[in-house]
């Protein structure tokens, strides 16, 4: 019976084999790469797993940057091409994908990643092969030696910047008695350190530093302890589902009556998923919120292009970083007039740009994007639509003083 089905299958397989053999034969000879070959950008992000929503928006935004570049004529006619790959939120997988992108696809640049460990893995592979990597997720280490290299750029914010800006705002406004509740891993520790660094000159009093394991579902033993301390501020240094549950249980325990809940990074996507009640009154920092378009013209332009391309929706914060990260390396290539690594690095160093959130620049010593940061409060009423989730309380302007100093990161200057 199976025999009668084999001919068509064989035929297709033969076609496939033939096609792939032709492909191999054609790609094998060392033909010098023609000027018209596209500029290829490898984009490893976690398309599956807990951050899939954010990652998919990053791809949408990155594609927008590529389309824009191509529509404006590319680099002397050379078009750009985005190669999105699933890094599965796993550093080993990300390293393999990066090797694939560099060795097989011969990408000119790598942009992407959505976790500290993954970006450090991608960076390690890219720097060894002298390929420019622009990271779009938070990490302090990537700016510092020994991880940093000349080809490393960091478009995202660092925990130091984020916690610092949020801390300066919150400690000045809501009070100095603080309790930290952090997830027991690198991200939590870095955020707590950032808050303390910002709070020290303001004279904050740390009442307690509580840690919980990753993936905690029950905070009910911790909440009464926190409530008994009556802090002015509860800093929640955790992420994703941990954060959603912690915020919800803090609300249920009535903590919000006496205490302001402050979060270093408040995600647009997480707030949408959790709903307005849980996050009501929570204050946090974000690299981007579409609502700044009323005062920032480049944000308006970016939002409009996104709305036009994707059914009137608005971009998320991490998505926008995908846009800026890709657009930055393309702008660098355009300025350098080539994709050669050294020339593009030189073009990007100190480059001033305003792609989507106001003026930014890559600091010379560590290639960190000096950028503004927005303090937002989650809304539960007076919302003009489902996307209207935050009100912008303050803007922490782009300022090099908000960054860790070059010498603290181990750089010469």
């Amino acid at each position: 019976m199976a025999e009668s089905f084999t001919p068509p299958i064989r035929l297709t397989r033969r076609h496939l084999l033939g096609a792939s053999l032709t492909g191999i034969v054609l790609s094998r000879p060392a033909i010098p790469r023609a000027q018209e070959s596209p500029i290829r950008i490898g984009f490893p992000v976690p398309l599956t797993g807990p951050y899939a929503t954010e990652a998919q928006d990053q791809v949408r935004c990155a594609q927008l940057a590529v389309d824009e570049f191509n529509a404006s004529g590319g680099l002397n006619g050379r078009r750009a091409e985005l190669l999105a790959r699933d890094d599965k939120l796993n550093p080993g997988e990300a390293a393999t994908r990066t090797l694939e992108l560099i060795e097989k696809d011969k990408v000119d640049f790598i942009v992407g990643s959505l976790s500290a460990s993954v970006q450090l893995a991608v960076n390690n592979v890219a720097r060894q092969r002298n390929v420019i990597y622009n990271s779009i997720s938070q990490s302090d280490q990537i700016d510092a030696l020994p991880d940093w290299s000349r080809t490393t750029f960091h478009e995202a914010m660092t925990p130091h910047m984020t916690a610092g800006a949020v801390g300066r705002y919150a400690f000045g406004k809501y009070g100095k008695r603080v309790v930290f509740l952090s997830a027991d891993y690198a991200y939590g520790a870095e955020m707590v350190a950032g808050f303390k660094a910002a709070g020290a000159p303001l004279g904050i009093e740390v009442l307690a530093e509580l840690k919980h394991p990753l993936g905690t579902t029950d905070f009910s033993t911790l909440m009464p302890r926190i409530a008994a301390l009556k802090p002015d501020i509860l800093c929640l240094c955790n992420f994703g589902r941990d954060q959603q549950i912690a915020v919800k249980q803090a609300t249920d325990f009535g903590l919000k009556r006496t205490t302001r809940i402050v979060i270093p990074v408040i995600l647009y996507t997480a707030r949408l998923a959790a709903g307005p009640q849980a996050y009501e009154g929570v204050v946090g920092g974000t690299s981007y919120y579409w609502g700044i378009e009323s005062s920032v013209p480049s944000a308006k332009a970016f939002n409009d292009r996104y709305r036009h391309a994707y059914d009137g929706k608005v971009p998320s914060d991490y998505g926008a970083l995908g846009y800026a990260g890709v657009r930055a390396v393309l702008a660098g290539a355009a300025r350098a007039g080539t994709t050669a690594t050294d020339k593009v690095v030189a073009a990007l160093e100190g480059m001033k740009y305003d792609f989507y959130k106001g003026a930014e620049t890559y600091r010379a010593c560590d290639h960190q994007a000096v950028q503004s940061l927005f303090i937002v409060e989650s809304k539960s009423k007076d919302m003009s639509g489902p996307a209207d989730v935050f009100s912008v309380l303050a803007t922490d302007p782009a300022n090099e003083a908000s960054l860790l100093s070059c010498s603290a990161e181990g750089h010469a200057s």
Binding site: D86, N90, P91, A95, E103, S117, L120, N123, P146, Y185
Partner: protein
């Protein structure tokens, strides 16, 4: 019958045949990094198979052996600036040491209890690595295991180049294949299979069951530790996930997919699994669904694994 005769004739040359295959293998691969991954995961599964396939001990703690090797190699290179060959030697040794320690504690239990004890001890090691940030980089993983050039007898090898890296790793894997073949052909290999088939009888014949199991575990650790060291050099990083229990699960899955108790099955399992993941995840984000379905189908229709079924033929 003819098939059996062929298999019997070729078995003494299994290591050489497998090596020949590995030498031409990268030519058929979509990219070299995945070929290297298949080599390394295949070696890892091979180490696991030594214990599970040939001795019948199901360990769920092999991540500790792979990760122990990877971290040992990475730490001597990154923290002490040692050359690559010391890294590989330390990785192999560390795999054996971790196996010796876990084995000493777990070897007297059997069946599901052995699986649970090994799983628990491996998780202990995971949390140690997670906390020892100064040594292991903690959650961020150990970065900078960058071995750029290797000088061997006056010849300079640039292992950043994909094909050179493949053959560099393949050299170690091929050596491991010959060592494994030798172990299996030795009296100790026969004793392992005897214990697997009938433990009571093996004991009655005078074999020291506990010592044999422990030795097999340590040897298994050597192969897995080597795989870990090669992985550290290949990827340039040691992710803390290497020690996580899902890595142990991967070894079980690849071995079952290829065929437990077969010489080359683990490589087939590793190859099929990683290629499937690679191909499917390129066109859908729901790749896990399809890979899972294929695994279920394999367990249902090829209980001996793909390679095992091929060897056994249709007759059985």
């Amino acid at each position: 019958m003819r098939r059996d005769a062929w298999i019997a004739r070729l078995t003494p040359h299994r290591a050489a045949l497998a090596s020949l295959f590995l030498l031409v293998f990268p030519l058929f691969m979509p990219f070299k990094a995945i070929a290297v991954n298949i080599l390394i995961q295949g070696l890892f599964a091979l180490g696991f198979n030594l214990l599970y396939g040939y001795l019948g001990l199901l360990s769920f703690g092999h991540a500790a052996l792979l990760g122990g090797g990877a971290y040992a190699c990475g730490i001597v290179i990154v923290r002490f600036g040692m050359p690559w060959w010391i890294g590989i030697a330390s990785g192999t040794l560390a795999g054996m040491l971790v196996a010796a320690a876990i084995g000493a504690l777990a070897i007297r239990t059997r069946g599901i209890y052995f699986a649970m004890v090994t799983l628990a001890l491996a998780q202990c090691l995971y949390f140690v690595a997670y906390q020892a940030v100064d040594w292991t980089g903690g959650e961020n993983g150990l970065r900078g295991v960058n071995v750029a050039g290797i000088s061997l007898l006056g010849v300079h090898l640039d292992i950043v180049r994909p094909l050179v890296r493949y053959y560099f790793v393949a050299a170690f894997v091929i050596a491991a294949l010959f060592v494994l073949s030798r172990i299996l052909a030795s009296p100790f290999g026969a004793a392992m299979e005897a214990i697997r088939e009938n433990e009571t009888r093996a004991r009655a014949c005078g074999y020291d069951i506990a010592a044999s199991r422990w030795l097999a575990f340590v040897l298994s650790g050597g192969f897995c530790g080597l795989a870990g060291a090669l992985q550290a050099i290949h990827l340039g990083i040691v992710p803390v996930e290497t020690l996580y229990y899902t890595t142990s699960g991967l070894a079980v899955m690849m071995t079952l997919l290829g065929g437990m108790g077969t010489f080359f099955g683990p490589f087939i399992g590793a190859g099929v699994f990683l290629l499937l993941e690679e191909v499917v995840s390129l066109w859908t984000v729901h790749w896990q669904l399809l890979v899972g379905a294929v695994f279920v189908a394999c367990v249902l229709f090829f209980p001996r694994g793909l390679w095992g079924t091929l060897l056994a033929g249709h007759a059985r």
